[in-house]
Assembly symmetry: C2
Homo-oligomer: 434 residues x 2
Amino acid sequence: MSLAFDLSGCLSARLGDGALEESQVLVKAQSLRPALDRLSDLRSAGEGDPEFLLLPDRRADLEPARDLAFALNEACDDVLILGTGGSSLGGQTLYALADAPLGPAHPRLHFLDNVDPFGFERLLDRLDLEHTGVVAVSKSGGTAETLCQFAVIVEAMIEALDESRLASRVAVITEPKDSPLAALAERWRLPRLDHDLGVGGRFSVLSVVGLLPALLAGLDAAAFREGAAAVLDRALGPEGCELASPAAGAALAVLAAERGYSQSVLMPYVDRLADFGLWYRQLWAESLGKHGKGTTPIRALGPVDQHSQLQLYLQGPADKLFTLIRLETEGEGPRVAPQIVDDPRLEYLAGRRMGDLLDAMARATAETLIRNGKPTRTLVLERLDEEVLGGLFMHFMLETILAAELLGVDAYDQPAVEEGKVLARDYLAVMQRD
Amino acid sequence: MSLAFDLSGCLSARLGDGALEESQVLVKAQSLRPALDRLSDLRSAGEGDPEFLLLPDRRADLEPARDLAFALNEACDDVLILGTGGSSLGGQTLYALADAPLGPAHPRLHFLDNVDPFGFERLLDRLDLEHTGVVAVSKSGGTAETLCQFAVIVEAMIEALDESRLASRVAVITEPKDSPLAALAERWRLPRLDHDLGVGGRFSVLSVVGLLPALLAGLDAAAFREGAAAVLDRALGPEGCELASPAAGAALAVLAAERGYSQSVLMPYVDRLADFGLWYRQLWAESLGKHGKGTTPIRALGPVDQHSQLQLYLQGPADKLFTLIRLETEGEGPRVAPQIVDDPRLEYLAGRRMGDLLDAMARATAETLIRNGKPTRTLVLERLDEEVLGGLFMHFMLETILAAELLGVDAYDQPAVEEGKVLARDYLAVMQRD
């Protein structure tokens, strides 16, 4: 499995003062060779940072995750996944791949990543708590939103089920160290999976954080890792600086940013990758947005955003780099019956399949962007399954950390968000309690 | 009903070379007075362009929409709303306000705004077509995606129901003129509501395009218009150039853009306004993104995006203008029981309500952005209902057309998207038909 990113639509485009030359991208990508070698050594050693690179080759942690998924599947019609940001977006993306609505063998998953009381209460009202499971995910074990959700739901479940049965319905994923969530898990002897200490939330999709939801949905967790491993092999190997590589993607983004291209649009023509766009948006923004650097990740979706954003993309400011992902869907999906559309103006649709239209629109938009001089990278997928999605995750994680290398920023921290958390507690402290 | 936008967090911020002065915003806003007077005359005359300004005062078109909603509600458990872009996003936003899951009196709405065959077939498979309604929305009557969806579903319904009963389940909203969709409606004598000729898709939310879905969901359509009318009264009146006005919002956006602030982030702390962000994103992008002008609308959602985008917002490039919307939720929602969180590290949560946490986070983020010199406009809502949402729609539509006035672009056209449509048909033409 390999992902054939095509950069030719960027190399023909004028960016700022002149065309971006293939040689510039390749030279910049080759400057990453020492970094790639470092990552390759890390992987061979099987330990060290960034630990997310070791996940594709790991299998031992899947067994306890499978056991937990099996137990929750047996007991539950619905499972709530509590968690926010990196504790949720990877799982959501994987779940989108599942063939929902799932058969009776698999529970419905609900990703609760926000704390709006309106929706929360409505959901709680309609759940049958006797057949509801809960998985609380927090790396630090102290995320305010997740702990708030957890406390409210646990209280409701104690009332509905009795405290002694809590451990049959509620589990946590958190780091193996003392924390508020770990203490609560201890108190009720809840099943617990370890959040890897060396894997940050936005790099955790291939850990049990992403894979437990995938297992709950009946997906093949090992296949995600196999796809990621295949991309990793190639990215760190002799082809690691070629044009389709993550290194070249990072080089392209940084060269474009230097020329004023401050936004990076990821536009899949695949509904199942809509959440992938949200996952990518966190990854890119939080890893690179520091010291005044980074570019803004934009999540788009085709064809629907042709009716919303394409006008701006084509005729607005020249500040966006595009990545379009197309899945081969020609000949797939329901067919437009000629007897329904027997109008000359609809002749172009007669006998076509919905996948033909989707495919044609994806091709046409890529070509239109390129014709209009917009730097556009394209990726064509022959299929979309666990292996391919695992590969996509790995490609974009590598691209992001390599872009951080080129920008000279630390891809793994997020120093700015602490101030707001402290302030929020200050505001809470002055509110009335009931 | 009035919306109290607070611009003080922008006026203290350094934008580019120096602070943005209140006087600069006011002078720019006052330059819009002739435009406001023109709009006011239009409204008094009760005819002319842009026609969307006349919708808040209109009532006669609601009666046929109510009749259609009543008939579909009687017959259907599910209603599919076919349409894309402006034919869908307004309705989706209104529907988010409904108290879903709705009681048995109201059908579930499904907004099909994309043509991915995978999800489409799965939805079709699980619908009971005997109790499913369809509303196809296309201003031109020729939108390829909508016609493709329509043809597939109509064929399935003819098979399930018999052709003679189609008119009891399927309706269209399109312009009162000849078009492929109009011809199909004619062929089966389908109920039909007129899409106003002078109202573009992205300005159509207060027309039957947005209000039919609202009526299907049991919402008060007239109240949306009343809220919009109240905002319009104020925006075109003597207070029309004050700091809280749409004119001042437009002036702020344009002044910020001149200083390199190329992105406009709309970040409500209200899940029910998540779709509002998508609606706004089309409105702003498609109306302003032309001749190299416009800024990029960014849809964010609090608090969840604090765990995704806030790092970039605070420490990335200084290129974003922020609008935060907070709903007063202190004291609302489920309460965190002190006996559950009897850990000193969670003392800050004990006895708090979820709405307290949401409120504290919204306040803290606004303050953190402002302290860090990020230009941040805030809006506090005391409640969220039809009237307030109608007002929000009107505020942002006015702000957009007034920004277009300042930028010297036509807010109502989208000339760039035609090229891709033609190309897509070319691609279709060379594909095999079955």
